[in-house]
Symmetry: C2
Subunit: 488 residues, 2 copies
Amino acid sequence: MSDEQELGITESKQYNTGEWYAEVVQKAELANYGPEGMSGFIVTRPRAYALWERVQDYLDTEFKATGVQNAYFPMLIPEQYLEREKDVVEGFDPEVAWVTHAGREELEERLAVRPTSESIIAPYMAQWVRSHRDLPLRVNQWTSVVRWEATETKPFFRTKEFLWQEGHTAHATDESAWDETLMRLDQYAAMYEDLLAIPVLRGAKPEHDKFPGAKKTTTVEALMPDGKSVQAGTSHHLGTSFAEAFDITYTDEGEDSQVAHTTSWGLSWRALGALIMTHSDDQGLVLPPTVAPEQVVVVPIWQADTQENVLDYAESVADELEDAGVRVELDDRDERNPGFKFNEWELKGVPVRFEIGPNEVDDEVVTVVHRPDGESKEVPREDIAETVREEFDEVYAKLYAAAEENLEENVREADSRADILGTIGQHGGYVKAPWCGDEDCETEIKDQLAAEIVMVPLRDEAAEIHAGEECAVCGEGAEETAYFAKSY
Amino acid sequence: MSDEQELGITESKQYNTGEWYAEVVQKAELANYGPEGMSGFIVTRPRAYALWERVQDYLDTEFKATGVQNAYFPMLIPEQYLEREKDVVEGFDPEVAWVTHAGREELEERLAVRPTSESIIAPYMAQWVRSHRDLPLRVNQWTSVVRWEATETKPFFRTKEFLWQEGHTAHATDESAWDETLMRLDQYAAMYEDLLAIPVLRGAKPEHDKFPGAKKTTTVEALMPDGKSVQAGTSHHLGTSFAEAFDITYTDEGEDSQVAHTTSWGLSWRALGALIMTHSDDQGLVLPPTVAPEQVVVVPIWQADTQENVLDYAESVADELEDAGVRVELDDRDERNPGFKFNEWELKGVPVRFEIGPNEVDDEVVTVVHRPDGESKEVPREDIAETVREEFDEVYAKLYAAAEENLEENVREADSRADILGTIGQHGGYVKAPWCGDEDCETEIKDQLAAEIVMVPLRDEAAEIHAGEECAVCGEGAEETAYFAKSY
């Protein structure tokens, strides 16, 4: 039956990760590719957008609880504003989409479709900040941005337009800006760990790979099952460089003028890419119950003589879950058999399935099946709305444990160039190595293996470097511990 | 004191509405004008964006409860897609901003920044709809759109980029599409009436003023205090014209191919313009408690000897409100006197003020002041979190009643051209007149007074036309009742 075939994932996650990912995205109805003439763009379908809404809800609540207000700035930015930013940074020029005409007229000055909004937000922050009493000032916006990268499209990982949030703050002191930078990084990490069931590493980008103009770029990195790292969110301590370029100054308590310290931090729909990639399998999408559009599907299994009883029972279970706030779908379609339904909801990533047949009705139980591993059990019909929460916790714990195991097994150490190359080549994952801090030593690895330094540890973890250790690549004195990995 | 002067609104709402509006928007920190080279664009500051978030929350909840799913489509649309729409409609060409270059390359085909998304959404709906079981299909997106209109900027009313939602649906039957059209119109009306305290009229646009390609365009219209009407949201029954142009077809129960019937409906941040314009006054912004970022400001009034008692008491009141979910601000700034604080929070539109001095502490009461009219009363400190809800209801009722009175007093009838012109010229508001349905008769009024037909009644109200009535302009047989008004 052709419908059955359509449901099947034909590619293998283990052996053909890229094609498998593309197939899951398409068959689980998460995204379509953009139209002709629009390669690099995707259409985000409702099932994926619902996941993004849960990421938004989580972060927006955390942001607002910690002093952030949302705002909205124009999507177009005059070229001279980007130029002004060039006092600080090289900018995004090669990736900018330019509006040159409006209606039938050519514009006097072309306008960039925002690749990021520092250069249009900073001048307004400069207007809004007058006194130390106006600080810290924190604004955030949820928007899309456009960056015209010429690489192959990978939905949610590499697209010319992507959804994200960008937060921008101004502070009286360097310390306050640094605390802000780390607070946002911690909120990103918590979102991955508590909502998406993905453990992450926190670190800093090497000096040569910072956000242009930043004093320090911090990152959360998530390890995918194929051994590559995803830069899953970044938080930048911008120091005073943007504030100086855009005149963000304030009057301190002694009535003296001072330059503010700023930060910016962003997280994009790559979070969805990481989510899909981490948990899904050769049957299709796997989602934790925290974000799944449907947390439970109830599949009634009947014959003509049992139909009425089974459907009544299944409906009462579904109603009770719905009343308790569970996102539940009762699949009582007549034209599909249970096997087809199982496959379809597995493909779509529903984490918990309830099977209800005549036996369940007689015994006043429900058969519960966990999506990730097929574990099956009978649970009492009574208190089902409470029981299901425990099942959700179990499913979440399984997903997190599997991802954590993958991460823990794939952080290895190396102390020579050959060791770095060999270890990543053989296992993927992260390879920790003492590093002198020189970009050239990264380049040597990059040239041979397309692996790079994705992060160095933050804070106390820097104490891992012991006196007398040598850079694994050049043998000079080591300054940091570098995490080498291939990355998305 | 210069700060005090900055707080004052200098323009008069009654005599100088346009300037007064611009001043309120700026001084209540709602929006700034765009940067140099970007006339027509605005920056939406947090206090205004928070209002938009409440509009979003309200509508998004209603939409989802009635089968709508959010999605996201590319912000850029290939020119050939807009051309394809031209089979149906004239399109938005004169208002389109064009991306012609990306990075250092010229694009092969230029891309429109979306002015609306029918032409990119319809082709995907065509892919997603296969069978009658896929219908109705309902998607919505919250985005900004760009329309390069060359008129004078008026924040939230006329801007080149604006925030909105656009819903798009496909149905098996004409009746289902028409029901959808009216359901969304009713949701828009309910949002104005239940959230923004603005009564609205529901109607249809005249045939010659429909959305291009639509079978029927319905509208909610709100009357502003200056006598002009705001088109506050529109819902379009598109018939089969877009479905035919973009091949949105489905297989019916008899396995025959059928063309779908579609709708689209949009509401923009004009809702914020209408909100600001309707309730505010010469002291600044006035907001209903339903949407105000701060619903209550607590202003403690102390001398040195009473400071501790007053502040403790004020804090306990504010804490109790906050615990009960009230959005409350305790203004305990030392460097500002109470009069300054009253003015500042009135300017910012906080609907309820609590004044707390030594007398309130002694008597275990709170002095409550309503923003819209200055009504002041003492209420018991006990059960304050419940009492304040009643105060909110009272304030809401006052705002709604004032807006309703304005509307009811300003719907007049006319039965001749001179009467239409004279009545609108003298009073503004709506003038109802029998109308033959010919655009020329509207043009005659438009040319002389810049008033137009903003709507004709829907459904049963069409029964208002009595046999034998004549068009007030040309004297031919009347077909409809036209509502003439000046409009935003």
